[in-house]
Symmetry: C2
Subunit: 431 residues, 2 copies
């Protein structure tokens, strides 16, 4: 099958999957978990091939670590599937209900989106997590993983596909794409694919956004800020800033810029510089920062840079308004934190900083689906519609309106023979 | 100001508007309503110019009727503003709350999307409705109305702008675009504009979707179906079908295709044809339909056609599965109705027909924001994400995550010094 046929098959399966019972979906997830354990040796053998090839190709050590899929990681994804089984059924929830007239009842009911295309990085666990989230939420999925993991992805997709078919799930719901060309073909298939979730480098996500009419859920950049207010607890501020920058530099919720209120800059900056030096962080400071601590000069480009590295931009600001304006000008709408003892300032910051996640007196690194308690995360969104911030199961759902009548026609309401009541029903949809 | 500057000003205003109090927004709406009444004569004078010019240009009668904006229609939009004032504040609702750890509280809080671009048809009431919905929901708005209504739109936008500024709303939140070129410029401004809602012809909406990276909320087509099941009450089925087709043919929720179960085709079709003849509806029937009633032959193209006219396609289907497959193949995801006494069949249909609105034993014409009791409608969406079906105030909102801490850093959770509790809080966000 070519990519268009795969997508068409996924669309067809998605219709049935939307109406598949909780038990059927959970049984299938159970069976997938069982088969992943049973076929562990095959998975590890495939992963060994990927690891050996990638070693030969000099893949960097952190990426090799992410690529590795051993018995422990397999147990981890199986545990994830069991947590997912335990979650309540996301499809079929009545979100609101209204009596339009006697015997004419309107229900807004949650349902799957349909067909999701997910492009993810080299971690093979992502394939299992994403496909099980899609199955639980009743969506078909087209998957494209990192090419480093191609053997591992192939066996994992094959196991999930065959186990789900054995458990009577409509075949076609899970499709593995193998090449970059496959992805390019997928981008044109807005007839069959309802949403694309790209995870990966900024350039890659931007490329997807620019080359498809299919809605895209994701984030291109993670330029996160910590603003240290003049009323901050200085030690707390330094700890939060250093954790935001250094706890894990290679991720989108790591801070890239610190904004420091001028009134406390002379106190904060030397302390901050000392702590950052312990992590060998290179500082790019504005003119005022350069006068207080030793650092490289920041340029206009510094404020737009996502370092993903032991580097940070620092700017001294006159007040909270300048901090907020800076964030709304240079930020990427991802995560911003304010450190202050002044609750009115915190409130202002959290209302005016136009980002998916606005934090007070804590590290930007908390902005994450697992830490938020959302369960597995499909991705982080800097979109302004549908879903924002860490996206869990809920981001894979939409709703449909179900209207139950007893023969009503609009002519009667237009002529005044009948009248709408519009009474809240507060009841769940049932036939 | 050029369009980019207008959009930038709208973006800037949207930040303040997001944090504007309920009272301030309602006062502004009140003041706008007052000024619309006070300046009624100016509005009518401008509308008279539009009406005269459009008459000279031979605008069709139904369009002239929609263009007319007299004292009664002005009172109508003013009543609409008063209803909007009475609605609860949509911004700042806590959608969920979780204690991540002692002193670390997460809240998901509703907020405006930001800047909305709306392109609407020749009804000047749309300008008032859309801009007041945007103000209530805290969004900036760029408006482009039909060129037939340009004088009316200009005075209405001017009144709303000046009245809102007098009521201390951040200036820049409402901007009127005047030409088609302005719209084309707007489509490129994804840096400032978060969502485009185009209302108008299919071709136009499709053009917008194909020519912008900005998310689009809307519907290109309204190919709605009525399926008459073998267990339908025949009289009810005929009434529902005729109302769906004929009650108002020029709208997106009018039916374009009837699907008739083969077992009842010989009973239903003659009755249906008689009633349709009363409205002079031209029928395009499949082979089987042609053997039962007199009609023109349907072609493959008939199933894809949105007539918006006294024309209908009719197909005899073997069973409900063929009906559902037909809908999912040729439909536009707008509105589908099943007429049947069999509740299991209705349930199946409502689960498997992949449309925003799925109806049982009632007319497709009910699929509308006003009839659904949603208040004013921004538009109808056939999107699969964010909002589906009739879109009211809620479609102009998104959320942000607000996290209140007391100095927490992620290192402590990574090292095991601290642990997440993830307890539901069930409380509203407050500082």
């Amino acid at each position: 099958m070519n990519i268009s046929q795969l997508a068409q098959a996924a669309k067809k399966a998605s219709i049935q999957l939307a109406a598949t019972s909780t038990d059927a979906k959970n049984n299938a997830l159970q069976h997938i978990a069982k088969k992943l354990k049973e076929r562990e040796a095959e998975i590890i053998a495939a992963n060994t091939k990927d690891m050996e090839r990638s070693s030969t190709e000099n893949l960097e050590a952190p990426l090799l670590k992410r690529l590795k899929f051993d018995s422990e990681k397999i147990d981890g994804v199986i545990a994830g599937i069991h947590s997912l089984i335990a979650l309540p059924e996301p499809v079929g929830s009545t979100l609101c209900s209204t009596e339009l007239d006697s015997g004419l009842e309107l229900y807004k009911v949650s349902c799957p989106i349909g067909v999701i295309g997910v492009i993810f990085e080299s971690r093979p666990d992502a394939l299992v997590q994403i496909s099980s989230l899609c199955l639980k939420s009743g969506n078909s999925v087209l998957l494209k993983g990192g090419s480093e993991a191609k053997e591992t992805n192939k066996i994992l997709a094959e196991i999930i596909k065959s186990a789900s078919i054995e458990a009577n799930i409509e075949k076609g719901w899970i499709q593995l794409l193998e090449t970059r060309d496959d992805v390019n073909e997928m981008l044109a298939l807005d007839e069959y694919i309802d949403l694309i979730i790209p995870r990966g480098s900024n350039e890659f996500v931007q490329y997807i956004m620019n080359n498809s009419n299919i809605p895209v859920l994701g984030h291109a950049d993670g330029i996160c800020h910590v603003y240290i207010d003049k009323e901050a607890d200085i030690d707390m501020a330094v700890d939060v800033a250093v954790d935001s920058k250094c706890q894990y530099v290679a991720v989108c919720n790591a801070a890239e810029t610190f904004l420091i209120h001028a009134d406390v800059a002379e106190t904060v900056l030397p302390k901050l510089a000392d702590k950052l030096a312990e992590h060998s962080v290179e500082i790019f400071g504005c003119d005022k920062t350069q006068k207080i601590i030793s650092c490289s000069p920041a340029t206009e480009q510094s404020w737009k840079t996502e370092y993903l590295d032991y580097k940070v931009s620092i700017k001294v600001v006159a007040d909270i308004t300048e901090a907020i304006n800076h964030i709304n000008t240079y930020g990427s709408g991802h995560t911003e934190s304010i450190v202050t003892k002044n609750s009115a300032e915190a409130d202002l910051f959290m209302n005016l900083a136009d980002s998916g996640n606005v934090l007070w007196n804590c590290s930007t690194r908390f902005s994450d689906g697992f830490r938020y308690g959302l369960g597995a995360e499909v991705g982080i969104s800097t979109n302004k519609i549908h879903a924002r911030g860490p996206v869990g199961l809920e981001g894979l759902l939409i709703y449909k309106w179900k209207l139950k009548g007893t023969g009503q026609i609009v002519s009667d309401y237009a002529s005044g023979t009948a009248e709408f009541t519009h009474n809240p029903l507060n009841k769940n949809f049932s036939i």
